[in-house]
């Protein structure tokens, strides 16, 4: 329990750091940040909109420490201010519509990549140096080193444009209305298939290689030799003796890669024109919608930290030593 509380405190500090970066960046810009922002924006905003944005950044009120506390207060109460591009909508509203799609994409892809990678890694290590290992490991290494944007673009070209098997954009067929119907979920699944698979392919290699190398380390340990000497079945030694221990570092790396997967999801969404955070952010970047870009950092950090906490809890379940402490 102590362990979990310490982790939560750590995540709070990490979130505070992200929020502080958001607070500091506009103030580090040369000149009056609001003017610079509008010079790049060259939009025709009403004075009210302009005032609302100044308030969003907290430039209006008082000395620096006062501004800092005001900003933190609004962040921790979940108020991220107004979006420039989608004014008069607030950043929260814009992101709240997009976030579920990103979570669907990144969550499913992570789960698939972790399970598939760990299982294949286990078998590759068991028959290390064999044909299976010799093919699977270099291929996964190559995939791991390929950026998400490359895989997504290639998949889009092959299956979306050349073969025309799968839809090339949107989360569901535009003619449908969201409903609890078989047709709607079928359409969501069909539209999600290509983004999820291409995201999964990028990240499966990392888990595979981590698992394989851990397994090889474990297979040299005494308890594995003893298990084999006792005459236990291969399957039992492989899964209960070696794989269970080898899984621990994999779970750690799962926590650390979550941020990267969310990042990969941003790019994948842009390629597939998927209405998640990435697509929204792309519009935000093109129009230099600073509050929106800042808001996504906080939302993404929050999502990553929450997922890391889940990984920590999983760790407690997997590693009995932590339960006793």
């Amino acid at each position: 329990m102590n362990f979990v509380i310490r982790r939560i405190a750590f995540y709070l500090v990490a979130f505070l750091v992200a929020a502080t970066i958001n607070f500091a960046l506009p103030r580090l810009m040369p000149g009056n940040p609001i003017d610079v922002m509008f010079a790049q924006q060259n939009s025709t905003l009403t004075p009210e909109a302009r005032n609302a944005l100044i308030e969003t950044f907290g430039f209006a009120s008082g000395p620096l420490h006062q501004q800092f506390f005001d900003y933190m207060k609004s962040v921790f109460t979940g108020d991220l201010g107004y979006s420039i591009r989608f004014y008069p909508q607030k950043v929260n509203q814009v992101l709240a519509y997009a976030l579920p799609w990103t979570l669907l994409l990144a969550g499913t892809a992570t789960l698939l990549a972790f399970c598939v990678g760990s299982v294949i890694g286990t078998f590759a290590a068991w028959r290390r140096g064999g044909m299976f290992d010799a093919v699977v490991t270099p291929v996964s290494l190559a995939l791991q080193a390929t950026p998400a944007v490359v895989i997504a673009l290639t998949a889009l070209f092959i299956f979306g444009v050349a073969l025309k098997w799968l839809p090339t954009g949107y989360a569901f067929a535009p003619a449908l209305d969201p409903a609890w119907s078989f047709e709607f979920f079928g359409s969501v699944a069909l539209h999600g298939l290509m983004p999820i698979c291409s995201l999964m392919i990028v990240f499966v290699g990392g888990y595979l290689v981590t698992m394989r190398n851990n397994m090889i380390g474990q297979l040299g340990e005494d308890h594995v030799t003893m298990g084999l000497a006792k005459g236990l079945s291969d399957r039992r030694v492989q899964l209960n003796y070696a794989a269970r221990n080898a899984l621990l570092p994999s779970v750690t790396s799962l926590g650390l890669t979550l941020g990267a997967i969310l990042g990969g999801s941003l790019v994948t969404e842009v390629v597939f024109n998927y209405p998640g955070l990435g697509q929204t952010l792309y519009i935000g970047i093109v129009t230099r919608d600073y509050p929106l870009i800042q808001g996504q950092l906080l939302i993404m950090t929050f999502a990553t930290l929450l997922a890391n906490l889940a990984v920590d809890l999983l760790y407690v379940f997997l590693d009995p030593r932590l339960r006793k402490a």
């Binding site: 750590f10 500090v13 990490a14 750091v17 992200a18 970066i21 960046l25 810009m29 790049q40 290390r128 140096g129 064999g130 290992d133 270099p138 290494l141 190559a142 791991q144 080193a145 390929t146 950026p147 998400a148 944007v149 490359v150 673009l153 290639t154 889009l156 070209f157 979306g160 444009v161 090339t168 290689v209 190398n213 090889i216 380390g217 040299g220 650390l256 979550l258 941020g259 990267a260 969310l262 990042g263 990969g264 941003l266 790019v267 842009v270 390629v271 952010l281 792309y282 970047i285 093109v286 230099r288 600073y290 870009i293 800042q294 996504q296 950092l297 993404m300 950090t301 990553t304 890391n308």
Partner: protein, 302 residues
Amino acid sequence: MFETLKVFLRNKKALIGLIIVLFYVAVAIFGPMLLNLDPMQRVGRPHQPPNPEEWLGTTRMGRDVFAQLIYGTRTSLAVGFFAGIIIVLIGTVLGIAAGYFGGWIDEVISFFTNVVLVIPQLPLLLVIAAFMGQTNPAVIAIIIGMTSWAWGARVTRSQTLTLRNREYILASELIGERPTRMIFVELLPNLLSIIGFNFIGSVTYTIITQATLEFLGLGNPMSVSWGTMLYHAQNASAITVGAWWEVLVPALAVAGIGVGLSLLNFGVDEISNPRLRTLGTVAAAIKAQKKIDQQRLAEVKP
């Protein structure tokens, strides 16, 4: 030195990786000299498929994709190596400081490192790059370098910690060697493989991340790199109009250097970790044993 090189070249993965990387480096250095073109120049009609004149076709702006590819290789590799050096410098200094001095220094550095590790990288980079305004490749290299050192610092720290408990370190401490000598003469040479690993990994990461940032529209659209090529291709909806060459050429270029660098890294890993290295030897030994067994069986049977 020569011995290490030999071991290195005997590793098939490392060798293939090295060849790929050297090829890219050669293209980056000599390509633009041999070509001597302006990659931003209009050379033909927009979206021409590959033909004898323009080997890899033209973009929607009528620019030569091949020329852009060659000049882009130079930019992307330069950014990768530049940021790689920054990452390795920061990571190694912090990692050794934390591992060697321990105590409160370690506490502070480790805490900070863990915080940076857990904040998602790409969203953070997007915010910083957006506030920097028009970011040319050098600026991108610097911001990637300043935000991506955490992993290297962590690995270097743990390796320093294990070295610190070795007897030879204790012995040199008892002789009364100064910390500077300890770090540069006793520790650093033993950390070289970790540092090399960190460097190659960081270069890969930077090249991928630069391409991603520029693809998302945070680069300077007037510079020529793989990322801006992808950005222009996406803006021109190159894929949906069937101009696959405009998209796949930079995409495969990024993928190729990624594969080369990671093979190189995997080879370095196998060389420095004997457990992973002996696999090939073990397989060869098993094969040889089987052959001998069969021969014996054949001798016994008749």
